[in-house]
């Protein structure tokens, strides 16, 4: 059965949907679209869909992914027009492609995520630059204490790369985060960085955007097969 990958963005008001709410939105949109979805067996059949790593409530995603199985193959343009108009505002279908039969699933394929943090106004640029320099400069562990059990982790183990940049309306911090470790949450990481920079601020999901999901393997490749440089949109 042919499998398709949808690339979409989740922004504006849709950023406030939780992962579960997003899933339900997708299921209903795809059901409305009339595409020949593949359903599970049983009394309450579910369409066969698989999702990329979840996004927190309030966090936007520029290029997110969803895989679906269809009973029969359809021309991509036809598929795309069937689903494009079925989503509430803030969710935009960017593109669609048919996966080769042996393509790895999203969970297997993606191993890192690029998050962009818009820092609140009035931040101390030097303090942030020093923090970033320290993160990329030495190997000393940066401790993060997990609130739920007090265990200590090295926050840097979750961080593959990091940079500070100036945007039109303030400073931005780009973080390339390793997925799959699970020990240090994005919130934990960001809060650790704030305390390292010794500036006022906390984790505000609405200031965070996931720019890309990638596979890091020497170079970078995204789930629709595009090769990318680090920090390349």
């Amino acid at each position: 059965m042919p499998e398709y990958r949808i690339e979409y963005s989740k922004k504006n008001s849709a950023r406030w949907l939780s992962h579960l709410e997003l899933i339900r939105t997708f299921i209903r949109a795809l059901r409305r679209s009339g595409l020949p979805l593949v359903f599970s067996q049983g009394f309450n059949p579910h369409p066969k869909l698989s999702y990329g790593p979840s996004l927190g409530v309030g966090v936007a995603g520029m290029r997110e992914y969803l895989d679906m199985d269809l009973v029969t193959g359809l021309p991509l343009a036809e598929c795309l027009s069937a689903i494009a108009q079925q989503f509430p505002p803030g969710i935009e279908i960017r593109c669609l492609l048919e996966l080769p039969p042996s393509a790895p699933g999203l969970g297997k394929m993606v191993n890192c995520a690029w998050y962009r943090l818009a820092l609140p106004a009035g931040q101390n640029v030097d303090a942030w630059q020093q923090t970033v320099d320290r993160l990329v400069g030495d190997d000393l562990p940066i401790y993060y204490q997990r609130p739920k059990d007090g265990k200590l982790f090295d926050a840097r183990s979750a961080l593959a790369a990091c940079r500070l940049a100036a945007a039109e309306d303030g400073l931005i911090l780009d973080l390339l985060v390793e997925l799959g470790g699970g020990a240090v949450s994005l919130r934990g990481l960001v809060e650790t960085l704030f305390s390292l920079a010794a500036t006022a601020g906390c984790f505000e999901p609405a200031r965070v955007t996931r720019m890309a999901l990638l596979r890091h393997n020497g170079g970078f490749v995204n789930p629709i097969g595009e090769r990318k440089q680090l920090w390349e949109a």
């Binding site: 008001s13 339900r24 409305r32 009394f43 509430p88």
Partner: protein, 627 residues
């Protein structure tokens, strides 16, 4: 305030998606292009309100008019209320995130007495005076309707106008009147606006009446304060459901609602005549939709929502007179789109279980049956036409079909209830277990749970004159029943007694209770129907503060001659019929369903000039267990 809400407030909330207003099928109208703007206010959480059919009907209906606009607002969860109060911001609508004060009309739906403090809270958060008498012509009109408006009196001082009965016709008439007033250049006084509305059938303006009380504190009478106020306000109803608007593109919730499913309303009204049931009285007579119409609506709902499930919502859906004609095509349609079909409640008999079994996705884990009382004697008193054999047949059919859990609903504290009736529940549970065991033939184990609520006497029912048992006695009976049921191998859950007590107070209350509502709201009471938010002590303090005895309202048996606080409301049911039904109840005599037998003379049809509408007149092939 839209940008502010989206940027600044949402990040502080636990479930921000409740307040986005961007659900599928929402209507975002041009604000300036609308001549009348109304906010539909549901005084409970988003998750509850979005499961409610009435909201979808009126929202869809009003927005079909090119120059009317309707938006939604739900009771703010405690986290949003805290944010609004901390920042001094008003409560806003979901679609355009505008302050409620900007609307012409704020309309509440009354589904449950224990949402009353939320209504006060929402009016206050909107920046509108709580008391209707303190509002000016520039304030929005605050109206309310829904089943609980069958006795609107405890809310009388807060609401400018009530709509009694079904709103599909009355609400557009109100909107038309407001449009005319707005077009008219003269400056209207609020009193004049209300007087104009009073001329619309089904509209009850509480400020047009004063209430007199006698020395015992009972209502003695009402005096009309305006020249042509009617002595009673008669309920509105839609005589023909096939010609009325129905929402086939309902708003699909973003945050998971209590019920996530499309709703197909087969009919309104139920004439089985359970004597405790208010819905069974105030929606009479039965009016069925034609099968062809229902098939079309079902298809549209499925296409427009993408719901996984379609629920046949009516008071007793399987009483529909042409069930075969309805279900076969519906099953086929739903099979194509992998849509399950569900029934919110099942009549207690094997026929119903068989029907449910054959519905796609219909065989769920748990089956709910409501015998309501434990002995035949008491079931005759309440006119619940269910026998022990019906119940056991249903259980056998369900177990054989593979259901592994059965939920049984009972009521405690029904009029004439004795210990033997409670013991009867224990016996029934044991028999249900035995039946389940032999029907399952060792293949699986049947889980049984019993849910017991406490009897609440309701206005416009034959039991309106009955009292609720005092709380200690109710607690004793629940405890007794709990032990019996648990010893018979079933789980026991009961509805909070304090909550049921308050429901009884408000359901038969008069206007003086408004003072209690204000006190309770000031003491922080909100979401009283939610056990985790219910503070009985605050309510007790509130009754003391205004020197009213709640027992007077909940527990007292009323005399037939008394003037009832809801006497201004004419539900169309003959008072003599209710008295006769009450007497028959005490004598243990059942009354048949006029759907199957002849007219029982409840008075509704002549009073409201309607007739029962059945799509298939011949006696149906239903088992028709009522005798």
């Amino acid at each position: 305030m839209e940008q502010f809400v989206l940027d600044d407030i949402l990040s502080h909330l636990e479930k921000p998606a409740r307040y986005l207003g961007s659900e599928w099928n929402t209507v975002h109208k041009d604000w300036d292009g609308a001549s009348v703007r109304m906010a539909f206010a549901f005084p409970d959480l988003y998750e509850v309100g979005m499961s409610h059919l009435g909201l979808q009907i009126l929202y869809g209906l009003v927005n079909t008019y090119p120059d009317y606009l309707m938006e939604r607002v739900f009771a703010p969860a405690p986290d949003l209320e805290a944010e609004l109060r901390r920042r001094g911001l008003p409560l806003f609508s979901l679609e355009s995130h505008r302050p409620l004060r900007d609307f012409d009309i704020l309309g509440f739906t009354l589904q449950y007495e224990l949402t009353f403090t939320n209504i006060l809270n929402m009016i206050d958060l909107a920046g509108i005076s709580l008391l209707a008498s303190e509002r000016s012509a520039f304030d929005p009109l605050v109206i309310a309707g829904g089943p609980v408006a069958a006795n609107p009196e405890p809310l009388a001082p807060f609401i400018d106008a009530f709509v009694i009965g079904e709103g599909e016709e009355a609400l557009p008439e109100i909107l038309a009147a407001i449009r005319q007033i707005k077009l008219d250049n003269t400056r209207w006084e609020r009193g004049d606006i209300l007087k104009k509305l009073a001329g619309i059938p089904g509209v009850y303006i509480p400020s047009c009446y004063s209430v007199e009380y006698n020395r015992e504190g009972r209502v003695q009478g009402f005096t009309g304060l305006c020249p042509d106020t009617p002595s009673q306000v008669r309920r509105r109803l839609v005589p023909d459901l096939d010609t009325v608007y129905y929402p086939t593109a309902p708003v699909v919730p973003l945050v998971e609602a209590v019920h996530e499913r499309g709703m197909l309303e087969l009919f309104r009204g139920c004439t089985r005549g359970c004597r405790f049931c208010q819905a069974g009285m105030i929606y009479r007579p039965v009016r069925e939709r034609h099968t062809g119409n229902l098939h079309r609506q079902a298809g549209e709902i499925i296409d427009n929502t993408g719901y996984e499930e379609l629920s046949l919502v009516s008071l007793s859906s399987l009483d529909y007179s042409d069930l075969d004609g309805l279900l076969q095509p519906l099953r086929d349609r739903c099979a194509r789109s992998r849509t399950g079909i569900s029934l919110p409640s099942l009549r207690v008999d094997s026929f119903s279980v068989d029907v449910a079994r054959q519905l796609p996705g219909g065989r769920r884990t748990s089956l709910t049956l409501a015998p309501e009382a434990g002995t035949q004697r008491l079931r005759d008193v309440i006119n619940k036409g269910v026998t022990e054999a019906d119940l056991l047949d249903a259980v056998a059919a369900a177990t054989a079909a593979g259901w592994s859990a059965i939920k049984l609903y009972f009521m405690v504290g029904l009029p004439t209830e004795e210990q033997a009736d409670l013991e009867g529940i224990g016996d029934l549970v044991r028999k249900v277990r035995q039946t389940g065991r032999s029907a399952a033939r060792g293949k699986h184990k049947l889980r049984i749970s019993v849910s017991a609520s406490s009897f609440v006497p309701k206005a416009h029912t034959p039991f309106q004159w009955e009292g609720q048992l005092p709380r200690p006695l109710l607690a004793e009976r629940h405890a007794f029943l709990r032990d019996l049921v648990r010893n018979s191998g079933a789980d026991y859950h009961w509805h909070d007694i304090g909550t049921s007590f308050l429901e009884a107070v408000l359901a038969r209350g008069d206007r003086r209770l408004a003072g209690v509502l204000v006190e309770a709201w000031r003491r922080g009471c909100r979401f009283d129907g939610w056990t985790e938010h219910f503070h009985f002590d605050r309510w007790q303090e509130s009754f003391r503060a205004v020197d009213l005895d709640p027992e007077f309202y909940a527990a007292r048996k009323l005399a037939y001659e008394e003037v009832l606080p809801w006497n201004l409301i004419d539900a169309g049911i003959d008072r003599e019929f209710l008295i006769r039904e009450h007497r028959r109840a005490l004598a243990g005599v059942a009354t048949p369903d006029c759907r199957r037998a002849s007219c029982e003379g409840c008075g509704v049809c002549p009073a409201l000039e309607v007739e029962p509408q059945l799509v298939k007149k011949a006696p149906s092939n239903l088992s028709g267990k009522l005798t």
